[in-house]
């Protein structure tokens, strides 16, 4: 890999920004160049929020990514908006708890993660983002799952019970991704 780009998108409040930041932190931990770019969109409430993370081995030029390699979409409007933009050969991760459609693109991989259900089951409805992150890391191996765990510990969940819950959700995401891809790693 020389450079990888992933967009996280959903409603405000779905932890979109945090998911991207955790990934970016993990990239730094592993000595990579990273850029995290939010939509700080119209000074208005509601609507779709998204962020893009660029992880690279070299200096990052354009932080503006029109066609990321991967999109993790948390709700229907995000699915509609970002799936078509994914680079051929890329990956879409769909929050199947809220999105009941799937893409007919055959030039990209797809993973369905019932992220909200996983999170609710684990006891924290807000952890849906972590489930998707688990799936993303498992599928792409852009960073190590271990690194992500460490970052979650440092930046997010200092309380032990919280930490364990997050780890459980992360693991669930990872497992579902692996199942979905049947062990094969997505091209990066």
């Amino acid at each position: 890999m020389s450079q990888y780009e992933v967009t996280f998108a959903g409603f405000g409040g779905q932890g979109i920004m945090t998911a991207g930041q955790l990934l970016a932190y993990a990239g730094i931990e592993e000595g990579k160049q990273v850029a995290w770019i939010p939509s700080y969109g119209p000074e208005m409430r509601g609507g779709t929020a998204y962020c893009t993370v660029v992880i690279s081995d070299h200096r990052i030029g354009s932080p503006i990514i029109s066609n990321p390699r991967c999109a993790c979409v948390f709700n229907r409007p995000s699915f509609d908006k970002f799936t078509p933009r994914i680079k051929p050969g890329g990956l879409v991760i769909i929050n199947s708890s809220l999105i009941n459609v799937t893409t007919d693109r055959t030039d990209i991989d797809r993973i369905l993660i019932p992220a909200n259900d996983i999170a609710i089951k684990a006891g924290n409805p807000k952890a849906a983002n972590v489930a998707v992150l688990g799936a993303f890391v498992a599928a792409t191996r852009i960073v190590k799952l271990e690194t992500v765990k460490q970052v979650i510990k440092e930046k997010m969940a200092r309380k032990k019970s919280m930490l364990e819950m997050n780890y459980r959700v992360l693991e669930e995401g990872r497992k579902l991704a692996m199942d979905s891809l049947k062990g094969r790693k997505v091209k990066v």
Partner: protein, 255 residues
């Protein structure tokens, strides 16, 4: 008995049928509606020009169904002055937040009020900068947490919250100034009464009119719409008492 039924509550004509960008439970929407109802009831919509501020209500021109200007932050009273002086036959109102009116726009509002400009100001006081994400406003209460006073407003460093209705009432020029609220049905009805009176006084070319409306900002207060209603009741209502601060008398000479 469907034949006997009629619609007793419906969207006013002066309010377009669009979904606003306001957060769930934000009372900007209630204020929009009652201003629109008043415009309808007084038959003013077609000769009205509103002035939108910079703040969460910057896009209110998309919601009101009348001519509108969108002003630089805080300057709506100056635009309204310029407009109304050229077209005294029209109805002009500014719609301004507390950051817009009481912070950056202090000079303009004091002078417009003092000149006795014949327009109406709807002043939406939610004790915070909504649009930019919850910074301290001049109306932020002592101890209230915002993103620029993260440990709560310290009035020994930043002064007391400004009570605009009281401050503007200290001017000698005749005016009608009242503070209302919209977080309970009964206040909503009183608010509408006040707003109607303001537009009537403007229509009759009497005086400057300002209605300060206490409003919620659940998003930046960090609570649910229901909790926001309570917070307003328990905190803002104490520091910002409702009531008429300055009333226009026919024989008012301004002393």
């Amino acid at each position: 008995m469907a034949v006997d039924n009629k619609t007793v509550f419906d969207r006013p004509v002066a309010l377009r049928d669009v979904v606003t960008h306001y957060c769930p439970g934000c009372t900007h929407g209630v204020i929009h509606r009652i201003v629109s109802e008043v415009l309808d009831e007084l038959g003013l919509r077609e000769r009205t020009c509103g002035v939108a501020p910079v703040g969460c209500s910057v896009l209110c021109y998309n919601y009101y169904n009348c001519d509108f200007m969108e002003a630089p932050h805080g300057r709506a009273p100056a635009l309204a002055t310029g407009f109304k002086r050229m077209r005294p036959d029209m109805i002009v109102f500014t719609y301004q937040g507390d950051g817009d009116l009481a912070s950056i726009g202090m000079g303009e509002i004091v002078h417009a009020a003092n000149r006795g400009e014949k327009f109406t100001t709807i002043f939406v006081n939610n004790a915070i900068y909504g649009m930019t994400g919850g910074q301290m406003a001049p109306t932020t209460l002592q101890g209230q947490v915002t993103t620029t006073c993260p440990v709560g407003r310290d009035t020994s460093m930043t002064g007391q919250p400004i009570r605009m209705a009281e401050l503007l009432s200290a001017l000698a020029t005749p005016a009608y100034i009242e503070r209302v609220a919209v977080h309970h049905p009964k206040y909503i009805l009183q608010a509408k009464k006040a707003i109607r009176k303001a537009f009537r006084l403007q229509r009759d070319n009497k005086c400057y009119t300002l209605i300060e409306v206490l409003s919620t900002c659940p998003t930046n207060w960090g609570n649910t719409p229901g909790e926001a209603t309570e917070w307003l009741d328990d905190n803002m209502m104490k520091y910002f008492p409702l009531g008429c601060y300055k009333d226009f008398q026919e024989d008012d000479s301004g002393s």
